[in-house]
Amino acid sequence: MATTTNPTLSTFADALDELGVALTRTTADEFAATLDDVVRDPAVGVPLPFDVTYPDRVTVDPTPAALERAATGVTPATFGVANYGSVLLPSTADGAEPVSLYPELHVPVVRAGDVLPDLPEALDRFGDMARTDGASTVVATGPSATADMGELVLGAHGPEAVHVVMLDE
């Protein structure tokens, strides 16, 4: 794993660590191998807008029934938010929203260059997309959680674990 001196990326790494979210950095070439180590079977994913290939283990563009069976969902993240360890997950016609939500493990893939320092900056960019294209996104920070059952439990309606894969280019 590469180390970094980029302050935004190290802030991002620290914030993820605090949330209990794993982070693996990889390159486009090593992407398939990296993902192979990260996912739990059965794994599904949505097509990524990056120049990478999925490992065979991941069913890309699954049916709803396959999604329901899946233990891992891999989706793109438009941006990362360094100080909170958040990722912005777009809602897309190929189902990035449900794929990021239903399986117990969610693997967002974000490009290192798309990690932004703070929330206002991320919202600023999102705002433009919402106004022009009616874009939707989820600012996701750590796994789904509930405190309604008497103590904090991870994995309420959404994933109980998140593993961010960051793509260095």
């Binding site: 709803p64 329901e68 929330l119 919402a130 939707s136 989820v138 309420a156 959404g158």
Partner: protein, 732 residues
């Protein structure tokens, strides 16, 4: 009347016993985490200011923003409906659900739909309505109402939820741990969401520029409800509209921190519906997601239901700035002990609840719990949009008073009550609101008045008629008031460095005369000449009963009496923190800007003033040194809100006292509150925490000092050793 009070006292007692401990643990946890979380935020005050500005602007321009939002939503392909009231909103929702031939609607938590009783309306049509937020589902299964704005099942322990699931579902292997309960709920709800026909959500914010809904959840159920079924109905109050997506970040950065002390809630969905996501049918094992339909229907129902009228109402308008974080509930000592089932109305609960109930429901609903706000102001610094919550509660109380039945039994105190209030005002309110008059008569006739007040038949009558709890000691009026004493004595200071007016609040003047004398001695020892003129009472007592017109009269009189002293260059020194808080906060509502600024600029709390004198070179040796004297100090809530408690500890430290401070913020008495039979037990229950802190092996032998009158009285009731004002400790 007394029957009503008795029922209420019994209900409070029941809730304290059954729900109190779960609520207390949860709210105190949230509150502690909130304080830690905002302390870590370097731009916290800046964010609050920004959030406030955005809300002020948005509510101001609301009709215009709604028009803009309509365009955005329709351009995206959705529908916007603005509903006048609950019936109108429910009719629209029922039509949408009927058009879909929907059998099941899955919902994510929304207080606005609680307000409308949407579930009942749909159920009457034979639709299965399922709450998917785990806490809300628990409440739905138990057929209860939410007890907190953001944590609807906060009143239930893990054990009681386990019992509930067992009773309702009779599972083969009953879940017990939090993990098992969550899994059980998720599995059940997952199945119900799977083939629901309509998903219904609220919205925390709606942006006019893009038609984007911000939905804040940690569980992920809002996302599931919004994008699993092919129809999404979002229901939100009109006040949720903000101009643009750029405005979201201050709210998002404040919301979770204010509510639960988290940095950011796990999911902030920014949906610009209809969302592109394909609709899901989990039985489909043929069609890949990308080829499935994403033909979604979206309806946004914006609900007026009294809000537009609140917008026109100068006093209630601020309520619309509320972002429903629940910080005011969590920081409220009374709420911590009884929760939203006592401290709430038809729908909304906690500090801001009375404003909401008065606006969207009725004064009657607000009246149910309005008295539980003691005006202690503990919630004030925690509200992310800086709403003056105690003021709203005072305004609502005043309106309740004015709406009260004019056929009262006023003749009993009519002679004592030169107030500005309507005839129907509750007798207990009138009695406490006119405490200054009572005190005057009390002192003039002391000690006879004290014997009489304590005589059994009088206590009985006070309780029967005015609700004064017989278990509470009454203040003992002193024959010689502080003002009388000061008039006849000779000052000891010859070459004064400054001149002050010691403000003779009613208690110091008539009851706790010793602390007034100690203040005079201290100030003189530090080279200050002191005057104690007769000045009218601040108006705190009538204000806390919601008697605003009377309080306002007092404000003018007080300013009139003090202005000439301020003109003459004298500082005003106040012993009673709740009176200083009047000058600092409420007088802004009553006096001209220039007047209130002058008064504020020259007014100080006594220990703050001593601190200032010492810092400016006054001789600390003139005061009584601590020499390691062990002290347990409880600051006053309003003093803390104003950030003035640190001066007291600093002065005591400097003089060599060994000070331990209470970290419970509230004593539970809050002026007249603890005197009333309805609230006496709650007041003592709240006070227990303070009593415990001052009864540990480390603190139990310490001298107890407290700044506020109510705190001193409460501590006297709670502890076997006496308590004093800190000024009495250091006075020579």
């Amino acid at each position: 009347m007394s029957k009503g009070r008795g029922d209420k006292a019994a209900e409070i007692r029941r809730l304290m016993a059954t729900e109190g401990s779960a609520i207390e643990a949860n709210t105190k946890g949230f509150n502690r985490k909130r304080r830690e979380a905002v302390a870590e935020l370097d731009n916290y005050e800046e964010l609050r200011t920004r959030a406030r500005e955005i809300k002020e602007d948005a509510i101001d321009r609301l009709p215009e923003l709604i028009a803009e939002l309509r365009e955005s939503v329709e351009e995206n392909g959705g529908h916007l409906y603005v509903a006048d009231d609950a019936a109108d909103a429910n009719r629209y929702v029922r039509d949408v659900v009927a058009d879909e031939d929907a059998e099941r609607v899955v919902k994510s938590k929304s207080m606005t739909t609680e307000e409308l009783d949407v579930n009942e309306a749909l159920e009457a049509d034979g639709v299965d309505v399922v709450e998917t937020d785990l806490g809300e589902w628990v409440v739905q299964l138990a057929d209860e109402t939410p007890s907190h704005l953001i944590a609807p099942a906060i009143h239930r322990s893990r054990e009681s939820i386990a019992d509930l699931f067992e009773t309702v579902f009779d599972p083969a292997d009953p879940p017990e741990t939090a993990d098992e309960l969550t899994t059980f709920a998720r599995t059940r709800l997952g199945e119900l969401i799977r083939d629901a026909d309509v998903g219904m959500t609220g919205a925390n914010f709606v942006t006019a520029d893009s038609g984007t809904l911000a939905l804040v959840t940690s569980e992920g159920n809002a996302r599931k409800c919004a994008v699993t079924p092919d129809t999404h109905v979002a229901v939100a109050g009109v006040e949720k509209v903000v101009p643009s997506t750029d405005d979201l970040s201050p709210f998002l950065e404040l919301l979770a921190r204010s509510g639960t002390g988290q940095d950011l809630t796990a999911y902030v969905s920014l949906l610009t519906p209809p969302v592109d996501s394909p609709t899901l049918d989990f039985d489909d094992d043929e069609t890949p997601l990308s080829e499935r339909e994403s033909d979604r229907e979206f309806h946004l129902v914006l609900v007026d239901n009294g809000r537009m009228a609140m917008r026109e109402d100068e006093q209630l308008r601020e309520t619309l700035y509320c972002i429903r974080c629940g910080a005011c509930s969590n920081s409220c000592a009374n709420f911590q002990h009884v929760g939203g089932h006592a401290f709430g109305g038809e729908t909304y609960s906690g500090g801001i609840g009375t404003g909401w109930e008065a606006g969207v429901e009725s004064l009657d609903s607000a009246a149910e719990f309005n008295d539980l706000c003691t005006g202690c102001s503990r919630c004030v610094n925690g509200c992310p949009t800086k709403i003056d919550i105690p003021w709203i509660n005072t305004v609502v109380r005043d309106r309740i008073n004015r709406g009260a039945d004019p056929e009262g039994t006023d003749f009993l105190v009519e002679g004592l009550t030169p107030d500005e209030e309507p005839g129907g005002l509750d007798l207990d309110k009138r009695l406490f609101g006119n405490f200054a008059t009572l005190a005057k008569v009390g002192s003039a006739t002391a000690p006879v008045s004290n014997w009489i007040a304590d005589a059994a038949p009088v206590r009985w009558a006070l309780e029967r008629v005015a609700g004064v709890d017989a278990r509470r000691d009454l203040p003992e009026f002193r024959r010689e008031t502080l003002v009388d004493w000061a008039r006849t004595r000779t000052a000891t200071v010859t070459d004064p460095t400054r001149e002050v007016v010691l403000y003779p609040d009613v208690y110091t003047n008539h009851v706790q005369v010793e602390r007034g004398k100690a203040a005079v001695r201290t100030l003189e020892a530090l080279g200050v000449s002191v005057r104690v003129p007769s000045v009218p009472s601040s108006g705190r007592a009538p204000l806390s009963q919601g008697m605003i017109a009377t309080a306002e009269e007092h404000a003018h009189d007080v300013y009139g009496a003090l202005a000439e002293h301020v003109d003459a260059g004298r500082d005003v020194v106040v012993i009673e923190p709740s009176d200083l808080a009047m000058f600092e906060r409420e007088y802004e509502r009553f006096l001209a800007d220039a007047a209130v600024e002058r008064l504020q600029e020259h007014s100080y709390e006594i220990m703050e003033y001593v601190y200032g004198l010492l810092a400016n070179g006054a001789d600390a040796d003139a005061l009584r040194a601590g020499d390691g004297h062990e002290v347990a100090y409880h600051a006053h809530c309003q003093q803390r809100t104003l950030g003035l408690d640190a001066h007291t500890t600093a002065v005591l430290d400097d003089l060599g006292y060994d000070v331990v401070t209470s970290d419970v913020e509230c004593c539970g008495m809050a002026g007249s509150f603890g005197y009333k039979d309805t609230y006496y037990e709650l007041s003592m229950d709240v006070g227990e925490d303070l009593a415990e802190q001052f009864s540990t092996p480390e603190t139990r032998d310490r001298t107890v000092v407290a700044s506020g009158t109510s705190c001193l009285e409460q501590l006297d009731a709670l502890l076997s050793r006496p308590s004093r004002h800190p000024i009495e400790l250091i006075a020579p």
